[in-house]
């Protein structure tokens, strides 16, 4: 007979993991400002709080900023990193390994060390408090280059040889071999980059000087429970968190296996 305690413990841990999200949803969906949670379940559920929050102007702006920040960054990182990864994986040129190593070495630098000088660079470019300043510095993503390079290196040589015999140049190889064959890894990586940016905090916090440049995480951090009801606060939290949770639930098998095999995603 199998003992039951591992399953019991695992269930308890799972409850602790998702408990705060359940509480958040319940409070966001509770009618009025009924202080029922955590002592009593609400008698009915309503979308009033979420709709009220969604109809405020600055909240809409934060959401739009977050979508722009996450989507544009994901696309731009995939494009730039896959181009570089292709030549790192498939071409020979002087200084290739040194260059790759110096790109990877930047992963060891805490972002806090680069915070002040990055802001000076942004200010010199005249990008303070703009989308350029928000997005472009975060596109230098060594993890993406590394992951794609490993993947492209593992592709069979025959495919590239056959294309070369057919007279395909580098652009043809990149567009009609590398990109299509990399589709699974590009999709996973794209989701990771999307989530990193959606959840990113420090850089948007220091770049955004005005309320209209804030992202959801930055906006959420400025909200104090004093200024709005706990139901409204939890509604903002819900709208900040639910897209990530949904993306994750839909794609969890892909994402978790990528983490297990490569350790990326952090």
């Amino acid at each position: 007979m199998r003992r039951a305690w591992p399953a019991v413990l695992l269930s308890l841990t799972s409850l602790v993991a998702i408990g705060p999200f359940v509480l958040m949803l319940l409070v966001a969906l509770s009618p009025g400002n009924a202080p029922t949670i955590p002592y009593r379940l609400p008698s009915s559920l309503t979308l009033d709080n979420i709709i009220r929050v969604l109809s405020t102007e600055s909240f809409l702006r934060w959401t739009a900023n977050t979508v722009v920040y996450s989507v544009v960054s994901a696309v731009a990182v995939l494009l730039s990193a896959s181009m570089a990864a292709y030549v790192f994986a498939r071409k020979r040129f002087a200084g290739r390994d040194v260059l790759l190593w110096s790109l990877l070495s930047t992963m060891m630098v805490p972002f806090h060390a680069l915070l002040m000088p990055s802001l000076v660079v942004i200010a010199q470019l005249g990008w303070s408090d703009t989308y350029w300043g928000l997005i472009i510095p975060t596109l230098a993503n060594a993890q993406a280059v590394l992951l794609l390079r490993q993947f492209i290196r593992a592709l069979p040589d025959e495919v590239f040889d056959a294309a070369r015999v057919d007279g395909a140049g580098d652009w043809r190889m990149y567009l009609s071999i590398v990109l299509p064959l990399c589709r699974p890894v590009l999709a996973t990586l794209g989701v990771f980059v999307f989530l990193w940016h959606w959840n990113d905090f420090l850089w948007p916090l220091v770049v955004a000087r005005s309320d209209r440049m804030r992202t959801l995480t930055v906006g959420l951090s400025t909200l104090e429970s004093g200024h709005l009801t706990i139901a409204e606060l939890m509604s903002v939290a819900t709208i900040t968190g639910v897209p990530c949770l949904l993306v994750f639930v839909v794609l969890q098998r892909h994402l978790t296996s990528t983490i297990s095999f490569t350790g990326s995603g952090r």
């Binding site: 998702i18 509480l23 630098v109 806090h112 060390a113 959840n199 952090r266």
Partner: protein
């Protein structure tokens, strides 16, 4: 001629990444050291002050206590998250059914942001008063960090467990080895690389703890949760002392490098 064309193509493919890294990684890396040697203030004049920022930080009680606070956080957070992640990975291995569901639930916090975690737990912990007690605030922050992050470490360790030689485990079982003996002598050696990776990644991350501190405590109460990363932000954006903020950033950088190298050596020495 073809060689020239060839090099040009390589350059074009590399160009976006090269420009991005040059402008927003390598230049700031130099800039961090450069700024830390000046008394740069926004809008004002600045001059080169040599190692003065570093020398005054060495006497600065706020900075020194932020070092101690950060070490305290690391000392609570890293064992906590490694034990929780290893425990859940082993449980996940021991329960043969519902794995997908359990894994999804356990990993869910990792998909959201530290800011959201901080806001939720600030509210959940409110009745306990932990965030107002200097002695409880670091453990509370560590619990929130571990709650958010353990799913990632768990996945890495779970993959490591599945790579453990199944026949050895089976043989040990047949020979009557206890659960602990099987863990200690068969599983743990196989898990070493994964465990090492997790410990390094989590230690380096713990030294940079910021988001939860910003959202939940603002460094308080009475600087009990004022960490190094928070000090970089505070010196830069509250005191506008960019030179010192950059110097603290460089110190954090040095610490992170030192820690990863030390852990690497410790790992290599004990096979």
């Amino acid at each position: 001629m073809t060689r020239l064309r060839e090099s040009l193509t390589v350059l074009v493919f590399l160009l976006p990444v090269l420009v991005l890294f040059a402008m927003f990684r390598f230049l700031p890396m130099l800039g961090a050291v450069g700024l830390s040697l000046t008394d740069y203030h926004p809008g004002g004049d600045w001059r080169f002050t040599g190692t003065e920022n570093y020398r005054s930080l060495a006497q600065d009680e706020i900075f020194l206590s932020s070092l101690r606070t950060t070490l305290g956080y690391v000392a609570v957070y890293v064992p906590l998250i490694v034990v929780v992640a290893l425990g859940t990975a082993l449980l996940l291995h021991a329960v043969p059914w519902g794995r997908g569901l359990f894994r999804a639930a356990l990993f869910a916090p990792y998909a959201t942001s530290l800011v959201l975690s901080g806001v939720l737990w600030r509210w959940v912990l409110e009745p306990t008063g932990f965030l107002e007690q200097p002695s409880m605030v670091l453990p509370a922050l560590a619990v929130v960090g571990a709650w958010k992050g353990f799913g990632y470490a768990m996945l890495i360790l779970f993959a490591g467990i599945r790579n453990a030689p199944a026949d050895c485990l089976e043989a040990a079982k047949v020979d009557g080895a206890s659960v602990w003996q099987r863990f200690r002598h068969v599983l743990l050696p196989a898990l070493r690389p994964a465990l090492f990776f997790v410990v390094v990644v989590e230690t380096v991350g713990a030294f940079q703890v910021f988001d939860t501190v910003y959202v939940m405590t603002g460094g308080g109460p009475v600087r009990a949760s004022y960490t190094l990363a928070y000090a970089v932000y505070d010196y830069g954006f509250r005191y506008f002392d960019i030179g010192s903020a950059a110097a603290i950033g460089v110190a954090l950088w040095a610490i992170v490098l030192l820690v990863s190298l030390t852990q690497r050596r410790a790992f290599d020495r004990n096979p």
